[in-house]
């Protein structure tokens, strides 16, 4: 991307006048030609071919990442950028946006040809970003690096390897073993009835304890979709949205029951859930491994780390595979002059053993290569080992992720679920409305 060293860009006073004059004149013309103004940046022209690894000279590029501005991740990622840059004799410029604004800001940048380089993406966003048609096929970089099958598959859109997996996990239940023991439980039960009964007992602990700090704000109400799956709704089948079927209505009715009885908390998103859990105010919550560091650091209980208990989600009928939503980050590369170097970087960042192990040690985010997973540091982390075995093992991507409008589909469904929770709509009506909204978005 072009960042000008002087604050005011390359524009002379005449240029500025011209800009305003053009604005004046163009207002009228806008009607006929509102499309054509973007894309004058030469760096946006996709460079044809040039896939051969390491054949071309290394070039400076940008690395977009939301993690890089976060306290815990900043030093380790910055250090890795510097290391790679020094090895190749190049500069990697970090680009960062707040997590919530990251996708739409990068969409604007990539669409306008303003970005070239590598970017961190949530696996849920890959299809959206791929829809812009500017991501590079990284399949040649994915070969022979020991990436796990599951890791590679989350980096693919329509069979094309648009991203290299950086970290892989799932969103699953995490319990506070100490609180469970207080009601005489040493694990989270595997049937929904027993689970509900456990929540009731936890509620009995009083003291404002929220038994299960499930998400009830729109931001993460997508968690409900996993419960819908648990109740037997497939969400999408053969390109048809199946929300609105018996199972989904049953799931939402059940969720509403937990909400009304105070077994799950009101006005809770992932942040709130983590804070409640770290304070010992919530016994169970949903999270990915990424939340652990903050939960432990913010807790007044220095022993909390040892009380974390990853648990399989209960199932409707015994023998069902427990449901969990896959979670992870990939690194994608935008076509452009520096795409070769950026691709090498993406490969190095996600599969160089030393690099991925260092990343794991700093942040506790599980690597995506067989080698990385076999490293001592990873294997000896019992939380991650348990999490992988009980949750990640059966985790699946959301069937909605393949649609570029995924974000809006999610919001549409979540708003309907929320309407049920606050009593504005019945589960059946709301799920029918959710089906209609989601169907309109994927067609």
């Amino acid at each position: 991307m072009s960042i000008h060293s002087k604050g005011f860009g390359p524009l002379s006073r005449r240029g500025l006048l011209q800009f305003m004059a053009v604005g004046t004149g163009a207002a009228g013309l806008a009607a006929c030609s509102s499309q054509g103004t973007a894309n004058t940046n030469p760096s946006s022209a996709p460079s044809a071919g040039g896939q051969t690894i390491g054949s071309s000279e290394a070039k400076d590029f940008s690395f977009a990442s939301w993690s890089i501005s976060e306290e815990a991740a900043k030093p380790v990622i910055t250090g890795q950028l510097e290391k790679f840059g020094a090895d190749k004799g190049i500069q990697i410029s970090p680009v960062s946006y707040p997590f919530n604004e990251y996708l739409n800001q990068l969409t604007l940048q990539v669409r306008g040809g303003q970005f070239s380089g590598a970017m961190q993406l949530d696996i849920a966003w890959l299809a959206t970003m791929s829809a812009l048609g500017k991501l590079r096929d990284l399949s040649s970089y994915a070969e022979g690096r020991g990436y796990t099958e599951a890791g590679l598959s989350v980096g693919q859109v329509d069979g094309v390897q648009n991203g290299l997996p950086w970290t892989m996990g799932a969103i699953g239940l995490v319990a506070n073993a100490e609180l469970l023991q207080k009601v005489g439980a040493d694990s989270v039960p595997s049937s929904i009835e027993d689970f509900e009964a456990l929540l009731r007992e936890l509620k009995g602990l009083g003291n404002g304890t929220i038994p299960y700090a499930a998400s009830t704000k729109v931001a993460q109400l997508k968690d409900v979709q996993v419960w819908m799956q648990t109740f037997g709704c497939s969400l999408v089948e053969n390109g048809e949205v199946t929300i609105g079927d018996e199972a989904s209505i049953e799931a939402v009715t059940w969720y509403k029951k937990l909400y009304d009885e105070g077994l799950i908390g009101a006005d809770v998103d992932r942040f709130d859930a983590r804070s409640l859990f770290s304070q010992g105010k919530a016994a169970i919550y949903d999270d990915a491994p990424v939340g652990r560091a903050g939960v432990v650091a913010d807790s007044p209980d220095p022993e909390l780390a040892s009380k974390l208990l990853p648990a399989s989600r209960p199932v409707l009928n015994s023998g069902d595979a427990p449901r969990a939503l896959a979670w992870g980050h990939v690194v994608a590369v935008v076509e452009g002059e520096a795409a070769d170097t950026a691709s090498e970087f993406a490969q190095w960042l996600t599969s160089d053993e030393e690099t991925v192990v260092a990343y794991f040690e700093a942040l506790g985010l599980p690597p995506t290569t067989e080698e990385g997973l076999a490293a001592d540091a990873v294997k000896s982390d019992t939380f991650i080992a348990d999490f992988s075995e009980r949750i990640t093992a059966t985790a699946q991507p959301s069937p909605f992720w393949v649609y570029p409008q995924y974000g809006q589909i999610d919001t549409a469904i979540s708003e309907q679920v929320q309407a049920v929770l606050v009593g504005q709509s019945s589960p059946a009506d709301a799920m029918a409305a959710a089906r209609e909204a989601a169907t309109a978005l994927i067609s």
Binding site: M20, T24, A30, T107, V218, A219, A266, T411, V422
Partner: protein, 289 residues
């Protein structure tokens, strides 16, 4: 070469209009044109769809949005006005420390806007918010309330946060106005035996009519399109109950990537607004004659 006065006057407005055209009119027209197309932020090209987007918006929740936008706008105009006016009146008297208080009261206005949202999010939080603790301590509520999770209280919460941010501006403006009221007027009225209320109604308010009109008009216009505080505090939720046109347009364009629908929302808004402005100009031009 000598310019006529009229030409000179128009020349003076030129830089302003040039900026408005480049930064507002051109982008606006171009966004509104999208209303007639199926156009996505994600894919190149667009297809003409006539009035489809507009009928879709109209049959959707346009009226609900209009109502919520009006609630927000009226609430965030009147509340800061009342608080700002009350404080201005109080600080215009000779009470001790008025100067220092005036300075302190500017803080809410000058804390970066996003921080205002986070601060109130923090205060209203259902699980560890200080408001619940205060109200529980006073015995006003029995159990912690989820202020931002209920449609009725969420809108109130958003209005309160915006009010907190904008009352200092109202206060400063009205205080400035109050200081122009000649003290002799009050003294004369007092001699005539007029009470506090009479003096307020017959001297203060008429004298400030101009500035009151101005601050209310400007505040109304700002709040009508206000975005940041709602967006950060509730994101339009719960269940869409705090969405205004401003947040709905943003969500449609940047979460849904649907430029056509966003344009349609904007176009309907502009039509509505256009009617109001034309009526207003029509009547005020008449008034000037």
């Amino acid at each position: 070469m000598k310019l006529g006065d009229g030409a000179f006057a128009l020349l003076l407005t030129l830089p302003g209009f040039a900026l408005l055209c480049a930064v507002v009119v051109y982008p606006l027209v171009s966004a509104l044109v999208s209303a007639f197309f199926e156009e996505s932020l994600l894919y190149p090209g667009r297809d003409f769809v006539g009035l489809d987007n507009i009928t879709a918006v109209l049959s959707g929740d346009f009226l609900r949005l209009l109502g919520q936008t009006m609630t927000f706008t009226v609430g965030t105009t009147l509340l800061p006005f009342i608080i700002g006016f009350g404080l201005a009146l109080a600080l215009n008297t000779k009470i001790k420390g008025a100067k220092a208080l005036r300075g302190l009261m500017l803080i809410p206005w000058l804390v970066p806007g996003v921080v205002v949202s986070f601060l109130w999010m923090w205060i209203f939080n259902a699980n560890y918010g200080v408001l619940n603790a205060l109200l529980e301590g006073l015995g006003a509520i029995g159990a912690p309330q989820a202020w931002l999770a209920h449609p009725d209280t969420a809108m109130v919460a958003v209005i309160v946060a915006k009010t907190w941010q904008s009352f200092p501006w109202m206060m400063v403006m009205l205080l400035a106005g109050l200081q122009t009221v000649p003290p002799e007027l009050y003294e004369a009225a007092e001699v005539d035996g007029a009470g506090v209320v009479r003096r307020f109604a017959s001297i203060t308010v008429p004298h400030l009519r101009g500035i009151i009109g101005l601050v209310i008009l400007l505040e109304f216009i700002w709040n009508f399109q206000h975005f940041d505080i709602i967006y950060v505090l509730t994101g339009g939720g719960p269940a869409g109950s705090t969405h205004t046109f401003a947040t709905a347009v943003y969500d449609t364009a940047f979460r849904g990537f649907d430029l056509g629908m966003a344009g349609a929302l904007g176009l309907l808004w502009m039509l509505l607004l256009g009617i109001l402005v034309v009526l207003y100009i029509h009547f005020s031009e008449k008034g000037e004659k």
